[in-house]
Each structure stands twice: as structure tokens, then as C-alpha cells.
């Protein structure tokens, strides 16, 4: 067990920003931290880094209580949400800061700085003033700076937020492989669930200062512990399981609903849980269609169920006012305990 | 215009401002008082009542401008003088200003009252108003405690028993320092003073740049309770050290070490109101003004007939034989002396 956060609370005056959080990150594990804006993600990261005093609870690393260890001796890397580049230093000096501090020799420093700038796609930028960088460039410099000293635990606060999709994807791959080859544990905050899925070994969902669920991505996505988590990870409706039972074809799911036996059990549906099917038994009225580059989301009204979102292919022509039939696909369904 | 305007708003100096009723104005002059500006040094002080009486009597408004480095200011501004009349330039600097043509001669009808004794020149470019002495002051208690006789002359100061007892000031930066240098020159002659100072230095004279520091910190007879019982200071200093009601002052002067400084008043060449300036000169020789000088400025009035305040009679008899030096000689060689002194003592 590398990092252990045990019942930690952080307060700002009367406001509780992090509320009795317990978390574990084992050695070499990458944890994605997700949650709505203002839920306390940055605060939790700052508390782990040692920048925010902990009100209750213990943060330990390798079973050593960190309370007594000043942040510069923790050997953690922290990338702030808004970069916090050193305005007086150029790009190269920013990236090399941690190396200088660690006493690396000049030549090695230079090699590593250039290598990292190359990784983040900013080769040739080393003598640029940070004030002249674009938003995404600044973010990449901050990422390179945090990576440079190969910390044992990386705390990354939305490291890729300001980047376009393709750059984000390629950086995500690089980031993952850097972390894995160096065996670095990491916690990274992201708003992009695909990103969390892409590299995280484990995800933690946070709301209102509390961790609502932690687990392997697949596990969390398939088995949200409550309605809030379900909705947060992309389930668009939550209905009584009894209502859906008649349409469930999947035996496994059926069985577990039956076993639960409890009539108050609910089921969460993703847009891909409902599929247009001429032979489907569910009648729906199309309300409106939202196009996306490679699919479309159709908002339909199903009598007795209310509004539901349905994923359709980008080229399937459905129009508001139309009546369609749907079938229930268990792939997009999850039972909420 | 600004000068007059501001002055008339201040009762302390221009007491006449409200008193311009016809009853107070001499006939024919008109009700509006004439303005006259007195340029003086920062130590100038006059009893406001005495000044007010003078203003009323002469239908004048006196504006006082007090300036640092008076002599130099007068020289610098001689083409467009700061005022009409100037008081406060002394015999160590006077000739410089007179030579520069700062003053226009005026012979006051009140001269015979004693001022003539200190006449600056035959033309009366300047009129002596008061004098004071710069003398070595002595802490009586220190000497009696040590059982040592107090020194009585400049010669005594270079004797071994008085080693490390005297503190003085730099002739280059302090007027008392310069006065004391002039005293030694008057005493030892233009050729002998350097030898005297060599001895003085060998005998441990301490030099400060300013009077304030040497008197208040180093001198044992002042409230600073320093460790030097002899200090170059003013002849008028001892009364200031006497506690109220005391019969004797704790300090005194070494009579043989005094250099006499005479302060003059003079009409400025280019005065806008020379008549009024003349009246101011007369005023300064008047018994009322002369009587106030000891109290106001710690100096002796030139008018022998003036009665001195009681504690002055008690503590501050003007020394009879002071060392004097020809102002013309001073003016001629002063800079060289200071330079030489500085090289010898400070260098």
C-alpha cells in the first residue's frame, strides 16, 4: 500500500471541502478522481500534497504518517489545476526546476528537460517566456515540470483539460506509459470519463466532499453504488427494476433482479440500453435529436417511464414527432443496490 | 505679493495686521501699513509684543524670513534680494557678503548707544547689534571632584594634565569650531596656530562635526553626562545649565579662550523699501529690542546701558579680554585656514 488517506476532512472556515475521505492507492497504481465542479477534488489533492492542513484523519505513505513530513520532503509531484508556472523563469527553467533542486548535473538536466518537452509536444520551446504560451502550451509545460523529477506519487489536477482531443489522447498514452514504466503511483483529477477509463487502474467518484465509490473503472461503470454515481458515470435514467423486468432479455440480470426480490430495487439505463428495433416492444415518441460527430442522441418519451435518452447511429434518420419502437439491451443497464 | 499676503495673516509676527485703524497710523502715511521683510537666520527670535509695538508705531508689517546658511543666501540672491534688511550675519562671514555688495550702508542715529564700538567698517555697511563669545566651557564639578585646577587659558589646554579632556568641533562644518580656530589664530598668530593645534591634537582633543553632539553627548557638564569636562561652546551656555533658582551654574567658561562673535544688521542693496529697512535697523538698536536679546537669543546687547537679566548677571558675565580678529583678515584667509586646519586635524 503506497498512499493511504484515512478519514480525512479539510475545512475552509465553516465549510467542509473534504469530508471524511478514505482512499487507497497502491504502489504503481493510477487512480482517477472524478466529481462535479467544487466537490473538493483539488482540495483533497492539496491535502495529500501537504498544502492544506488536515482537520481530522491521517494521511500516510508506506505506513508512515505524513503529518510530520514537510511537503518538499514527501517526494510527491503536484500539478496545479492552473499551471502555476514560475513567471520569472523560461520554459526550460520551469521544467528543470525539480531537477536543479534535486542536484542533478547540468548536462543531465538539459537532456531530461528536452526529452520531456518533446514528450509534451513542445520541442524547441525551452527558451520561451512562459507569459507568451497559449493556454494548452502552459498546461503541457506544467505537466512536464511535474514529471521531470520522477516523483514517487504524482498528483495531477486536470492535467489535460486545456488540450484538443488528439493531443489529449496521445499525451494520455505517453503519461500512462511514463507512470507505468517508472512504477509511479498517481492520482489524477479529470472531467473526461474516457480519460479515466483510458489509463486508470481505479477510479474514485467524489461528491460534496465525500468519496461515493472507488473501484476498477469497469466495476464502477457497471455497478454504480447509487443513483448519483450512476448518473455521474453516464446513466441517463433510473427506473424501478420492476418496470423494466418484462423487457429484460438477459438472463443474468433477470436472475439478480429476481434474487434481490426487493420491489424497491432500481435499475439505471445508459443511452445505449435502449436500441431502435423494428421488433422492439417498447413504444416511444421522439422528442428531439442531438447530433454528435459519430452518433446521435434521441430524447424519447416512453409512456409510464418518462423521458429517456437513446443512442442511435449518426446516419439513422429519426425526426421529432415520430413514433419508434425500442428494445432493452442489458449492456447499458445496471442494477442499483 | 504672496509674501505680504501670507504674512498679514499671522498675528504672531505681524501684529499690525489688525491694528491698521487710522488712530494708529501716523498722519500722511495712509492707513495701509508698509511691508518690510527681514531676512535672518534660524535662531532669530523676538518678543512678539515688542515687534508688534514697533510695527504699530511705524505703520509697518514686518515679515521675517529665517534661512539657513544666511551669508551664502544673501550673496546668492543679491540681484533679487529676499527682503529689505538682514540681521544675523557675523564677523566671520560679514566681509564676504559686504564685498559681494549685498549691503547698502546706513548710519543709524542710534549708533552712539554702543554699537559703534563694534563697527564693521567706516561706511557702516553693517551695524552691530549684539555679540557673543565662543569659549571653552568647563564642568566645575568634574574638576573639583578630581582635585584638578581648571584651565584658564589656551596654553593650559595643551598641558599634559588636561590630556583627553577637551572636545571641540570641526572648523569645516561647525560655526563654533570655526570660532575656536579663529581664537587660536588670534592667540598664536597666523604663523603659530598650526603648531598650537599640533600640540592640541597630541593632547587628545576630540573633534565632532557638530556642536550638538559634542555638547550634548561628550561634555560631562551637560545633561548627556559625557566623559569630557571641557567643551568648545558658547559663553552664554553656563546659565542654561543652571537649574531654576540655583545660586551658581555647574559649568563656567575658561575666560582666556573666548572668541568674540559680533552679529550685524544691514540694509540690503536693492531693498524695495529702504526707509522701512532703516527703521528696522534703528529698532534693533532700540532699548526695547536690545533688552530682549539675552533672553531671546542668548547674546549680549551692544548697548552697554541695557540691564542684563538676573541670572546673566549671576552666571554669564561677558569675559573682559576676548580674542578678536580683523574681519578683513578673516575674510581673506578663512578658507585657507579651514583647509589647512582640516588637513592637519582631520586628515
Amino acid at each position: 500500500m503506497a498512499l493511504r488517506v484515512d478519514g480525512v476532512s479539510v475545512t475552509y472556515g465553516p465549510q467542509v471541502a473534504v469530508d471524511d475521505v478514505t482512499l487507497e492507492v497502491s504502489s504503481g497504481e493510477i487512480l482517477a478522481l472524478l466529481g462535479p465542479s467544487g466537490c473538493g477534488k483539488s482540495t483533497l489533492l492539496r491535502a495529500i500534497a501537504g498544502l492544506e492542513p488536515v482537520r481530522h484523519g491521517v494521511i500516510s505513505y508506506d505506513a508512515t504518517d505524513l503529518a510530520a513530513i514537510p511537503l518538499h520532503r514527501r517526494g510527491f509531484g503536484l500539478m496545479f489545476q492552473d499551471g502555476m508556472l514560475f513567471p520569472q523563469q523560461n520554459v526550460g527553467a520551469n521544467v528543470g526546476y525539480g531537477l536543479r533542486v534535486a542536484g542533478m548535473n547540468k548536462a543531465d538536466q538539459r537532456v531530461r528537460v528536452l526529452e520531456l518537452l518533446e514528450v509534451v509536444g513542445l520541442g524547441g520551446f525551452e527558451s520561451r517566456q512562459v507569459a507568451t504560451l497559449s493556454g494548452g502550451q502552459a498546461q503541457r509545460v506544467a505537466l512536464a515540470r511535474a514529471l521531470a523529477p520522477t516523483p514517487r506519487l504524482m498528483l495531477l489536477d486536470e492535467p489535460l483539460a486545456a488540450l484538443d482531443k488528439s493531443l489529449r489522447e496521445s499525451l494520455l498514452i505517453d503519461l500512462g506509459s511514463i507512470l507505468r514504466t517508472t512504477g509511479t503511483s498517481a492520482i489524477f483529477v479529470t472531467h473526461d470519463q474516457g480519460e479515466a477509463f483510458g489509463i486508470a487502474d481505479s477510479v474514485a467518484l467524489m461528491n460534496d466532499g465525500r468519496i461515493r465509490q472507488q473501484g476498477a473503472p469497469r466495476e464502477v461503470w457497471d455497478n454504480p453504488v447509487d443513483e448519483w454515481v450512476a448518473r455521474f458515470v453516464g446513466y441517463t435514467s433510473v427506473l424501478p427494476a420492476s418496470l423494466l423486468m418484462p423487457y429484460l432479455s438477459d438472463s443474468e440480470l433477470r436472475t439478480s433482479v429476481m434474487q434481490g426480490g426487493d420491489t424497491s430495487q432500481r435499475m439505471a439505463l445508459r443511452p445505449n440500453a435502449l436500441r431502435p428495433d423494428p421488433a422492439g416492444l417498447i413504444n416511444a415518441l421522439v422528442q428531439f435529436v442531438t447530433l454528435a460527430p459519430d452518433h446521435a442522441l434521441v430524447r424519447v418519451d416512453v409512456r409510464g417511464w418518462g423521458n429517456m435518452t437513446v443512442l442511435v447511429d449518426a446516419d439513422s434518420a429519426v425526426a421529432p414527432g415520430e413514433h419508434i419502437t425500442l428494445r432493452l439491451d442489458s449492456a447499458g443497464c445496471a442494477l442499483i443496490p | 505679493a504672496i509674501v505680504a499676503g501670507c504674512a498679514s495673516s499671522d498675528p504672531a509676527v505681524s501684529a499690525n495686521s489688525a491694528a491698521n485703524s487710522p488712530a494708529n497710523s501716523p498722519a500722511g502715511v495712509g492707513s495701509k501699513p508698509a511691508a518690510v521683510t527681514l531676512v535672518t537666520h534660524n535662531s532669530f527670535s523676538v518678543d512678539p509684543k515688542v515687534l508688534a509695538d514697533f510695527e504699530v508705531a511705524n505703520n509697518l508689517t514686518v515679515t521675517v524670513l529665517a534661512q539657513d546658511a544666511l551669508a551664502n543666501q544673501l550673496v546668492l540672491t543679491k540681484d533679487n534680494p529676499l527682503g529689505d534688511v538682514s540681521y544675523g550675519i557675523d564677523n566671520t562671514f560679514a566681509s564676504r557678503a559686504v564685498q559681494a555688495g549685498v549691503f547698502s550702508p546706513y548710519t543709524s542715529p542710534l549708533l552712539p548707544m554702543g554699537s559703534d564700538k563694534y563697527a564693521f567698517d567706516a561706511d557702516n555697511s553693517l551695524t552691530a547689534v549684539d555679540f557673543g563669545d565662543v569659549c571653552v566651557n568647563v564642568d566645575h564639578a568634574w574638576f573639583s571632584a578630581k582635585g584638578l585646577a581648571e584651565p584658564t587659558s589656551l596654553e593650559d589646554l595643551i598641558k599634559p594634565e588636561y590630556k583627553n579632556l577637551l572636545v571641540g568641533q570641526s572648523a569645516a562644518t561647525s560655526s563654533t569650531g570655526l570660532a575656536f580656530l579663529l581664537a587660536t589664530i588670534g592667540h598664536s598668530g597666523v604663523d603659530g596656530w598650526q603648531k598650537y593645534w599640533t600640540a592640541l591634537k597630541a593632547n587628545g582633543i576630540k573633534i565632532e562635526a557638530d556642536w550638538e553632539s559634542s555638547y550634548n553627548v561628550d561634555f560631562s557638564g551637560s545633561s548627556g553626562k559625557g566623559d569630557r569636562p571641557l567643551v568648545v561652546s558658547y559663553g552664554s551656555s553656563p546659565p542654561a545649565e543652571a537649574p531654576p533658582g540655583a545660586a551658581t551654574a555647574p559649568t563656567g567658561i575658561v575666560a582666556g579662550t573666548c572668541f568674540r562673535q559680533v552679529e550685524y544688521v544691514g540694509v540690503l542693496a536693492g531693498a524695495k523699501n529702504p526707509q522701512a529697512a532703516h527703521k528696522v535697523v534703528d529698532f534693533m538698536l532700540s532699548p526695547e529690542f536690545q533688552a530682549g536679546l539675552p533672553q531671546q537669543m542668548y547674546v549680549y546687547p551692544v548697548d552697554k546701558a541695557t540691564t542684563l537679566p538676573a541670572d546673566w548677571v549671576k552666571f554669564a558675565q561677558a569675559p573682559a579680554d576676548t580674542i578678536a580678529l580683523d574681519p578683513v583678515l578673516i575674510s581673506k584667509d578663512r578658507d585657507v585656514w579651514i583647509q589647512d586646519w582640516s588637513d592637519l586635524v582631520e586628515g
Binding site: - | Q67, N80, T173, D218, S223, Q295
Partner: protein, 573 residues
């Protein structure tokens, strides 16, 4: 639909553009004009006198032989070198000791912080002669610290100068520091830098401009200090300033004085140029935040800072206690006799006005001077804070910047004499005018105001101003709603400081003060130059009053700024 009126170019846009341009030019021209009239012209007039014609007399053209003469004297190099190094060492010491002080007083909270801030500011306004005497009293062989053997050594001078200027560093650096975002420093620590290292590599550079500004100011004060040099230098240590004074007032040698003045201006100018370069190199847009939550309380980890500041404060307090002792010591024992005596015009009739009247004079002159200095300083800062794209414009701003610092680097005697010979004809017929005192004081206070405000303005992200402009605010409005609030803290500090400077100003005032309008420092100077325990006691009492008023003013300003922080933001409902 959007109800905006159609977008059309208005003729007034052109006028507006012109006005904005002119506004800046005006903002530069007003101070420039006032400085030209009340500083540059008088100084040039006086220096010119010394250089035109033989001996500074006749009209036979410029005579530069004086330079060879003066520069040829061995004494000249000694004096010039001493002037430079003692000022540099004093400035260095002040900065070194002042930075921990700024940290403790502006980045940490503890009970009595405002009071301590006010306390350390006191020395700055004490008349230098009084300070000099207090130090001599302490260090004299018969004094409490006589055993240290510092009397008459250069250390006494350096310590006194640090004593006087500690507050300059603490306040200038502190006001910037208070607003600095600490997250870059946290980022550095997260990268493994120890707190010390993070401070040295991140915070210190961010404070660079403020430190350079403070260091420059202290250097200037010390390079031109007169009172300290005379009282503590004892004639053994001479600076260009004392030399100029000596040449003008004792030797009446205007030619030499002019040469020395020019040398002084050149030396000071060179240093200013170097400082401006350092400032420029270190300048960058910083994250400044006003109204952040409460500062952390002093903790055990702060011990080095507390220790250093504690020692410094003890050193600051010692001379003040000496002074207080003297002020309470009367011929009849301990008591307030000296203060009572000040209230009257004194038995000696020495005082034309009572101490209280002088205090009133001081306060009203200082208020006018502070108002003038703030006005000029803010106008100037607005101009100097601009970052034009053209290199030529940037260079001229740098020059302008240095230009307005000169009043701090020119001998008070030169300025004072200059006033007399230059301001004697309409429209500049100011000799003897009561306004001359505050004007003279404002000339020295303005550069201080600029140095305190400018670092904050320059560090402000331009995009904040742009954001306001995009929301429809005119340039004036942008200035009022963005710049002004951001610099309000520094402005408050500068106001208190300008007031304090004006309150304590002695050099130039002594040349221009009218007897009935004399200020407290002049009164103190006069009292101190008289024998008698009573006069000295009264002088010390007056100095205590001056100190108390200054401390009170500073305390109130600090408190009022501090209190506003808690309130809702400016312009809130």
C-alpha cells in the same frame, strides 16, 4: 433580440482616442512640469551658477576647470568612494534585515501586528540629528552600549542608517508580498525545494522589483544623508553631501559645490540606472491577489524570522527608549515637564510658536504634501506602468522612471539654495511662500510613492484591465475599478509613508520654512542647538510627539486598509 444600438464609429471615438493619448501625455506632463519648476529648474540654476564664469561670478561662459580642480584632489575620491560604499552597505543591510521583517509583518498574523508595523515605521520620521544623538548617547563610552566600542566608528553610521530605513524595506517589500499568490512557492516545494530554496528561487525573484525599489530608496537616502553623517561621522567620515554642505555654507565655494553636486547626481544617476535595469529584468506579471483569507498565524517554523525581527526590533527600540528617557527626564526629576514646556512657547522665548503649533504646522504641511505627492505619484505610476510594444517608448519610460527618482539623490542644500535663486520671479515667485514647504516635501515624497505603487501596478496582469474594458468600462473606469483597488493597499501604505516623510522632512524645509510656520523637525533642530538640559529635553519630547503622530497615522491607515479587507468587495450590492 439584442437591444444594442447599431455599432457606428462616432466622432467622439476619435476625440476619445485623442483624449486617451493626451490623457497619458497629460498624466506625464503635470508631474513633469511641477518637477521641472520646483526641482530641476532650481537645481540647474544653482549648479549653473557655479559653472558659469570664473568663480561662478561673471558671464564669461561656462567654466569647467572646476572639474579638473575638484576631481584632482585626493580627498575627492575618498569622499566619493565612501559615499558609495557606505550607502551600498547600509542598503544591503537594510534589505537583508528588512525581508524577514516584511515576512513576519505582512505574511503572518499575530496580535499587535498593526502596532508593530507602526512601531518600526517611527524611526523613519525621527529627525536625523535626534537619531544621531540617540545613537551617540547609546554608544558613547559613558553610554549604555559604550562597551561595544562603536562610537566614532563607521558601524555607528551604518547601524543608524539601518535604523532609519528598516521600515522602508519592510513596507515596500511587505505590501507587495502581502498580495503575492503563494501557490508558485507551493509548486516549488512540491517539486522538492525546501522552504528556503523555494523562497530564494521563486518568491525572492517575484519580490525582486519591490526589493530593488526599496534598496534603491535606502541607497539614495544613505548616499545623501546629512544629519547622521555629521553627528555620527564626527568630521572623520565625510560624504559628498556633507562636503557639498561644507563648500556651500562654510567655504561659500559655489564652484566646488556645483562640481560636487554634479558628481553626486551622476553617481546617483548611475546607480539608479543599474537599479532600473535590475527592476526591469526581474519584472514579470505576478499573480497578485487582494482579499485573500487571513494570513497564517506565526508558527514554530517561523523561528528564524521571529528571531531576526526580534533582534532588529530590539535594536530599533533601544535608541527610541533613550529618547523617551531623555524626554521624561527633567531638571526636577522624572515627569512630563518637557512636554508641558513644549505646550507653552517656552521660558526661553526661544520658540516663536509652541510645540503644538509647530506640530499643527507640520501636520497641515505634511497633509498637503502627502496629497500632492500621492496625486503626482499616482499620475506618474499610471504612465510608468505602461508596457508599450515599441522598444523606443519602453526606453523613454525607463529614463523617465529614473528621472523622477533624482530628487532623492540631490543634496537638500542644492535644492534649498536652488529655490532661492530660481523661484524669485513671477510666475514662479515662491520665495517665502507658505506653499513652498509642502511643495519641497512633495518633491521628496513623490518618488517614494511611485516606488511603492509601481511594482504592484506593473505586476498586475493586463488581461484584468482588458476584461474590464470588454465589459464596457472606459479607460478611466478601468483605472478606477481595476487598477485603483489593486493598488489600494500599496496606495494606503504610500499615503502613510508620504505623510511620514513630509512630517519628518528637514533638509529642504529648513531652507524654506517661515518662522511662524516652522515645522516640528525644524523646531527640534532649533531646540537641540541650544545648551541646557531643558532644551534638549524639550527637543526629545518634541521628537517623541513627532514619532507618536507618525505611528498613529501609520497605525490608522494600516488598520483601515486591514478592516476593509473583511468587508464585501468594492462595488458589491
Amino acid at each position: 433580440m439584442n437591444d444594442k444600438p447599431p455599432l457606428r464609429a462616432h466622432p467622439e471615438d476619435r476625440v476619445g482616442k485623442l483624449l486617451r493619448r493626451m490623457g497619458l501625455v497629460l498624466a506625464a506632463l503635470i508631474p513633469l512640469g511641477i518637477f521641472a519648476a520646483f526641482f530641476f529648474y532650481p537645481v540647474v540654476a544653482l549648479v549653473g551658477r557655479g559653472l558659469v564664469g570664473p568663480g561662478g561670478g561673471g558671464p564669461t561662459g561656462i567654466d569647467l576647470t572646476g572639474f579638473a580642480d575638484v576631481v584632482g584632489r585626493p580627498r575627492f575620491f575618498k569622499v566619493a568612494w565612501f559615499t558609495l560604499w557606505q550607502a551600498a552597505v547600509s542598503a544591503g543591510l537594510s534589505v537583508l534585515l528588512g525581508i524577514p521583517g516584511a515576512h513576519l509583518l505582512y505574511r503572518r498574523s499575530f496580535r499587535g501586528r498593526s502596532a508593530l508595523r507602526a512601531l518600526v515605521t517611527i524611526p523613519f520620521v525621527l529627525p536625523t540629528v535626534v537619531v544621531g544623538l540617540a545613537f551617540r548617547t547609546l554608544f558613547a563610552s559613558s553610554g549604555p552600549l559604550g562597551s561595544w566600542g562603536l562610537d566614532g566608528t563607521v558601524w555607528a553610521i551604518l547601524l543608524a542608517q539601518v535604523f532609519l530605513n528598516y521600515a522602508v524595506v519592510v513596507r515596500t517589500v511587505g505590501t507587495t508580498w502581502a498580495q503575492l499568490d503563494q501557490r508558485p512557492e507551493e509548486a516549488a516545494q512540491a517539486l522538492g525545494a525546501s522552504p528556503t530554496r523555494a523562497f530564494l528561487t521563486i518568491t525572492l525573484p517575484a519580490l525582486g522589483p519591490a526589493i530593488a525599489a526599496a534598496g534603491t530608496l535606502v541607497f539614495l537616502f544613505c548616499a545623501t544623508s546629512f544629519g547622521i553623517m555629521v553627528v555620527l561621522g564626527g568630521g572623520k567620515f565625510n560624504s559628498l553631501e556633507t562636503e557639498i554642505f561644507r563648500q556651500t555654507t562654510q567655504m561659500l565655494d559655489l564652484r566646488t559645490a556645483s562640481v560636487l553636486s554634479i558628481v553626486q547626481i551622476l553617481l546617483v544617476g548611475t546607480v539608479l540606472g543599474i537599479a532600473a535595469r535590475i527592476r526591469h529584468r526581474t519584472e514579470s506579471t505576478l499573480r497578485l491577489q487582494s482579499h485573500v483569507g487571513a494570513k497564517p498565524r506565526v508558527s514554530a517554523a517561523d523561528w528564524p524570522v521571529v528571531l531576526v525581527t526580534g533582534v532588529v526590533v530590539a535594536l530599533l527600540v533601544a535608541p527610541m527608549v533613550t529618547l523617551l528617557g531623555r524626554s521624561l527626564h527633567t531638571e526636577t526629576g522624572w515627569g512630563f515637564g518637557n512636554f508641558d514646556a513644549l505646550a507653552s512657547t517656552g521660558d526661553s522665548q526661544l520658540l516663536i510658536v509652541s510645540g503644538w503649533t509647530a506640530l499643527g504646522n507640520s501636520a497641515s504641511a505634511a497633509a498637503i504634501a502627502a496629497a500632492l505627492a500621492i496625486t503626482l505619484g499616482v499620475l506618474l505610476s499610471m504612465v510608468l506602468a505602461r508596457k508599450p510594444r515599441q522598444a523606443a517608448a519602453r526606453r523613454s519610460l525607463t529614463v523617465l522612471d529614473g528621472f523622477f527618482m533624482l530628487p532623492l539623490g540631490v543634496s537638500a542644500a542644492t535644492v534649498g539654495f536652488g529655490f532661492l535663486i530660481a523661484l524669485d520671479k513671477p510666475p514662479l515667485d515662491f520665495r517665502g511662500s507658505a506653499l513652498l514647504v509642502p511643495i519641497a516635501q512633495a518633491m521628496v515624497a513623490t518618488p517614494l510613492v511611485v516606488r511603492m505603487i509601481l511594482p504592484v501596478l506593473r505586476a498586475t496582469d493586463d488581461r484584468l484591465r482588458q476584461a474590464a474594458g470588454m465589459l464596457g468600462a472606459s479607460p478611466v473606469r478601468v483605472w478606477l475599478t481595476v487598477d485603483l483597488p489593486i493598488m489600494s493597499r500599496a496606495l494606503a501604505g504610500a499615503t502613510a509613508f508620504a505623510f511620514a516623510v513630509a512630517l519628518g522632512e528637514f533638509g529642504a524645509t529648513s531652507f524654506v520654512a517661515r518662522p511662524e510656520r516652522i515645522t516640528l523637525p525644524i523646531l527640534i533642530g532649533r531646540l537641540i542647538s541650544r545648551p541646557g538640559a531643558g532644551n534638549l529635553g524639550m527637543a526629545c519630547a518634541a521628537a517623541i510627539i513627532l514619532a507618536a503622530v507618525c505611528a498613529g497615522a501609520v497605525f490608522l491607515v494600516d488598520r483601515s486598509v486591514g478592516a476593509r479587507r473583511g468587508a464585501a468587495g468594492i462595488g458589491a450590492f
